[in-house]
Symmetry: C2
Subunit: 173 residues, 2 copies
């Protein structure tokens, strides 16, 4: 539970890879937590799934399936085909370990896989990095409005594009 809180701080604060961000530590932590989570749930984080997740966590920038494929092809070990990567991504999404970014046809690691959440993605148009926001009030307001029209809400996709803190500084915006 304290872990959840720690992660939430990461999520809200240092998540855009900026000055204070030790990404090696960040990625290592994400991988370790994925291992633990899969263990806990009795699902298998196989070699290929782990490799895909590692590539995704090489940064905070959403990667396309074929970017991932290309990276894996350079590594030693098998050179997987598209279906293999898509199947791995499907598994990782089911486990909440990665999110699909609809506006980019790309995939990004989820920093908070331990908790089910309905997150919003913040996408920097300058550097391409993504961060995740959890803001329930706004979602609830929209859900209420939709239900008031008789629509039963089952899932949310919320993506905000703009400028991350460091790119904002660079652009003087």
């Amino acid at each position: 539970m304290t872990k959840g809180l720690d992660e939430r701080e990461t999520l809200e604060g240092a998540h855009f890879s900026g000055f204070g961000h030790d990404h090696t530590r960040c990625a290592t932590s994400a991988l370790a937590r994925a291992e633990a989570l899969c263990q806990e749930r009795g699902v298998r984080l196989t070699e290929i799934r782990r490799r895909v997740l590692e590539v995704i966590w090489s940064g905070h920038r959403p990667l396309g399936a074929y970017d991932i494929l290309a990276t894996l092809a350079q590594e030693s070990g098998g050179k997987p085909q598209p279906p293999t990567v898509y199947r791995a991504l499907e598994f990782l999404q089911e486990q909440g370990l990665v999110h699909r970014v609809e506006t980019l046809n790309a995939f990004v690691g989820c920093p908070l896989p331990e908790e089910h959440h309905r997150g919003q993605l913040l996408l920097c148009r300058a550097c391409g990095d993504a961060a995740e926001l959890v803001e329930e009030q706004g979602l609830r307001a929209m859900q209420r409005a939709a239900e008031a029209l008789g629509f039963k809400v089952e899932g949310f996709t919320v993506e905000l594009s703009g400028l991350c803190p460091s790119c904002r500084r660079k652009e003087g915006a």
Copy 2:
């Protein structure tokens, strides 16, 4: 201005094509308003752009670019190629006459092109119909939360999936 209000009612009430919905009238109105709007703005709603918009307004279900293409190919008149359709869609989006549905790779008519708005799409997973919701409070809440992290919000993509009123009834949900 009264027109804006009328449309807002359409938007919020009868927009999912249900019992009380006269779609012929709905589509005709959308086309007429598109004509007027383009006239007003001094941009050209050319033949092909109008045909694409007509196809889109044949219903409230988002259509893929290639669905549109196939429909146009059956009509008399030229049989356009993909770039032609995509260019028409680009124009229609710029004018706010259609929205792209990111989660479906598809396009749907905007019922309220006269006003700039940051809308949310409601997508029925059963019948495929889409409706539009304008709920500013929730958006503002999310924007505030994002800006509090130093992120400058420039654009929103919000899509809610679920069941429209009539499909909800059918499923007993």
